[in-house]
Symmetry: C2
Subunit: 413 residues, 2 copies
């Protein structure tokens, strides 16, 4: 029995990897157009750093290990913590520091449909821009929306809430915000009745008032009584207003609480129709300081690359190879290599036979692999200087003179 990838992880064979690359390339291009620069951090961090901000649930999911000097390490579980560490330890970075990072993160979670222990995230964050006017908040949300549109998805919704607002209204009811949020976070899973039961069991006061509050979808309907609440409400209003300038439709949703405990202001999620969260983020103004850096406000958003990959509807093919150059006889091989070299110089992805196979076996391979175009080189082609380009899908053929080989780039789209 051959070895398999470790439980909860997977290999991406070319067909799947081509899809993921489409997501990653799209995200990267949009991030850069939106003024974010690339940052890279290691795959593992000091365990103490990771566990400091993880919150209990995620802390249980960290892959922990010691190196051979007994240094306690853990695989990164997100990109926010490492980025905040970078900002804390590089105080001279020009602010705002706008960075993106795309790659794998690891959590020892129960694997399930579309849930992996190694999964990819694509993150943007802005460090050093306070929440005034919610400009930075709007920028990261709008940029995430742009990625999702470019991927070809349209049925998605941006939902917004605010931690200050949540804290304020729950405190006013005499409830402990963190306890209530943990239960409300399960609303999608256990429904309103389930939430009611859990809150009652937990002894939370005014459960019916809380449930009514959670149903509010117009931020103006929330009445706030303290400074924290007013600030939170104002941040939501500003963010909604800024997003309109971007042509980005978003709605307030008082039921949206985000699991991560480090958020301090606006929080946001983008849902695909059907309820799947594909993007989430928020403002976390305290983290850099808690990691030993100067006080630095921060806001960011994270796209779930695996979920987005699964939603891609386009047929992107099973291979990146455009043309296979087949040889009729072994004696035509050198010509094939030369021709392949010329085509590659033109920017075409080209393969030729490296296994000494007969022509019929080469053609079987072209079909099995799903390569769209075929060129056959035999004695006749070598003599005439004319080759035929065969479209393996439509079966059509076109002749090309080797001295005008550059014309081929227009024929293989």
């Amino acid at each position: 029995m051959p070895y398999q990838p470790p439980r909860g992880t997977r290999d991406l064979l070319p067909a799947d990897m081509i899809k993921r690359q489409f997501i990653v390339d799209t995200a990267r291009a949009v991030f850069e157009r939106c003024g974010f620069d690339p940052l890279e951090t290691p795959g593992f961090e000091e365990y103490e750093l990771l566990s400091a901000k993880a919150g209990e649930a995620i802390k249980q999911e960290i892959y922990y290990f010691k190196d051979k000097s007994d240094r306690e390490l853990g695989l990164r579980f997100d990109f926010t913590v490492p980025a905040a560490r970078v900002v804390a330890s590089n105080p001279d970075l020009p602010k705002p520091f706008r960075r993106y990072q795309i790659g794998p993160v690891w959590r020892y979670d129960r694997p399930g449909a579309g849930r992996y222990r190694e999964f990819w995230q694509a993150d943007i964050d802005i460090f050093g821009a306070a929440s005034a006017d919610a400009d930075a908040d709007a920028e990261v949300v709008a940029c995430a929306c742009e990625v999702i549109k470019k991927i070809g998805l349209s049925n998605f919704t941006v939902r917004i809430n605010n931690r200050k607002l949540i804290n304020s209204v729950l405190n006013a009811l005499g409830a402990k915000a963190v306890d209530v949020m943990r239960i409300i976070d399960k609303l999608d899973k256990i429904g309103e009745d389930g939430v009611r039961e859990e809150m009652n069991n937990k002894g939370i006061p005014d459960v019916e008032k809380i449930l009514k509050l959670v149903g509010i979808r117009n931020v103006e309907d929330i009445s706030v009584s303290d400074e924290e609440g007013k600030a939170g409400k104002e941040e939501v209003i500003q963010l909604l207003s800024r997003l309109k300038v971007f042509g980005c439709s978003a709605e307030f949703d008082m039921s949206l609480v985000r699991g991560l405990e480090y958020y301090t202001g606006n929080v946001f999620e983008i849902f695909q129709e059907g309820g799947l969260t594909i993007t989430a983020g928020g403002r976390y103004d305290n983290m850099v300081e808690q990691f030993g850096g100067k006080p630095t406000p921060a806001v960011g958003i994270s796209l779930g690359v695996d979920r987005l990959t699964n939603l891609v509807q386009m047929d992107l093919g099973k291979t990146k190879v455009n043309i296979f150059v087949a040889n009729v006889k072994d004696s035509n091989k050198e010509k094939c290599i030369q021709l392949a070299g010329q085509l590659r110089d033109l920017g075409v992805n080209v393969e030729y036979d490296v296994s000494g196979r007969q022509l019929s076996k080469q053609l079987d391979y072209v079909n099995a692999k799903g390569i769209k175009f075929l060129l056959v080189v035999g004695e006749k082609e070598e003599k005439s200087g004319v080759v035929k380009l065969r479209n393996m899908v439509s079966g059509t053929e076109r002749e090309i003179e080797l001295r005008n080989l550059n014309r081929i780039t227009g024929m293989i789209d």
Copy 2:
């Protein structure tokens, strides 16, 4: 004291990451043009798999850990072992299976100048093409050379040897090939005298003959007495001949032994002038079978992304941002956002102020970050519909009508 990256690892801030991306993007583009498809495997593997083929030296360097189900795992130390596992466990992949993989690998090695515990590799391998005619061997070597050329390097040398040949001639002298190779591998470090001494200490026979052999640079000068030796010699001759078709200059070097014990035929390294190995690989025909798959010949090569990154001479800048759109007053912000959106739609990387700063502070930031172009939007520009594009390096300015904004793409190269 803020947290740092774990010892032996590092962060890549934008200036460095932009360089690495140039290497990675170049490698990926060349790999795809040469007919390789992307494959992705997890960051960690079963420890048993990793340790099976690691060889003692690398085995000591594996980051080992257990997950919460006491599964024994290790961070990958290369891409060859995971790729061979994929081929072993997916017997129906069309052959030859040509894949590339680019990303981080981890080894608990002594960190030093340019040596990290997390480092990036860019690998290509061909599975399922036997060594006949050395076609596949030549393909991976030529493709690696093409990457190096595209990066802008020219003073590099391809050196070739062959494990069968080494085994054959050393066996004929009555020496244990693996012991001798381990010592010869240190030639660059300890010199000929050091090698002589170690071999004598180890009781290896015919040390002077071995040293003379190791000095041979013309494969025809090696006399072989058995089938293994003849096959190895022929493989070298074929590879050198094939590489000529690619216009790729290579030389035989009997002193080249590669540390990894899994090689079975041709081995190759590419040295940058000065002796730094930037690329290495070889043929390993037994690994897939040893991992439980069908017998599958294999050959591959690995580029050291970090070393290549350090060799890049080009100035690639500190930021990907092309243009900063500054606002004179807060009331111009909406126009800035609209303008940024239009420019981004044109494919330009654009940033604007999200911190509510005064114009002078915005300009300080543009200079600190190294953004090359500036657009200023004030009342005058909003009214006239004409903005000035300022080149922050040369100090020159050009006027652009907002209704002809698309002309800007030709002005920012």
